[in-house]
Assembly symmetry: C2
Homo-oligomer: 210 residues x 2
Amino acid sequence: MVNKKVVARLSSYRTALIRFHELGFVKVFSDTLAEAVGATSAQVRKDFSLFGISGNKKGGYQTDVLIEKLQSLLGKDRVQPVLIVGIGNIGTALLKYRGFEDEGIRIVAGFDLDPTKVNRKLKVPILPADEMPDFIREQRVTIGIIAVPDAAAQAVCDTLVAAGIRGILNFAPIVLRAEEGVVVNNVNLQNELENVIYFVNTLAKQIKGK
Amino acid sequence: MVNKKVVARLSSYRTALIRFHELGFVKVFSDTLAEAVGATSAQVRKDFSLFGISGNKKGGYQTDVLIEKLQSLLGKDRVQPVLIVGIGNIGTALLKYRGFEDEGIRIVAGFDLDPTKVNRKLKVPILPADEMPDFIREQRVTIGIIAVPDAAAQAVCDTLVAAGIRGILNFAPIVLRAEEGVVVNNVNLQNELENVIYFVNTLAKQIKGK
DNA sequence: TAGATTGTTAATCGATTAACAATC
DNA sequence: TAGATTGTTAATCGATTAACAATC
């Protein structure tokens, strides 16, 4: 069954493979790939078989063919327009991040309630929040990033979905409710950091306890 | 067994509980909490029992007591010093993010190779990369955030660990190798977005296919 | 008390890994 | 051919959920 975790691994395989390809590898074994992404070779083969990707018995996988297949699975064969709501710290960082463009992800606009942030002349324009629904409909954008304060996040989510957004990457630390058929992925940086802190402290205690 | 996922849920419970507390809730049921974080009530109770947190049969959990316990588990009872390596887009966003301070996370310094980014006069100073090891040792920092380009990430990781860092939040899209006892959490924003794109595209195809 | 909720055990579900036949 | 690697099935492992006795 295809779930979030499997697709995340596909992304990792892809990143690693591109690196291998740049290093001149023409073929790659499940073993090598597994090592690069921190998985097992069985898992690599299992994942591939799930998507009908096959290699050569004894010969491994042909790097370029494999990359091609992953590209297509991950929608890299065409440009994916994405918009960002909330031009604060995170929103700005993502807006400026040059790496997306190479990866077929195009940030098409930013939106913010604060009129002083609006700037239509930028290559990626920052527009007033109330222009969002029309923009989404006209440009047929289906993916959005929410980087607003948590109190505003659900309302933004509702507006996005009503206008036609089908997938959301959410940085606000709340569980967004959206209708069936809308994909929501959450990134909670504070929790991630807390997680690290927890394990560092627990390990430190364990060592002391010995 | 305590794993990353359980601790991530503790963080979510905590966030939700603080919200409940602000709304004046004196007690909360496993049911209510589950709903707020998108889990099941059985899971909430299971998680709590794992950490020896108990409530009152019939009476649920006392909000303030519960928050207190989670705070202590998650290391919120003291300030956690954290440093950031790589003052690019993400690094800058995290450096500026005001929310950490309220959460007991103090960004104590940023580090970058680029001398034009160095600025010792800021409240959170940005220092040259080569001062990192001494800084870590002198200030006894144990948590670091890596926000450098992927080609530099492993070297930065090695330097951090050698100087005494025990936990890393890594934004570079590679698997970092670190000795046993060092905690590494990865945040791969590109993969997260790719994930959303994948499912949006697959769902769209499914609907068309019908 | 009767009803509701916890805490925990057992059952289920899902994901990962081991193993090995097929085969290049 | 002999050796190595894939592709897949079965076994294992771990996490989630269901269920229910205890009890407030």
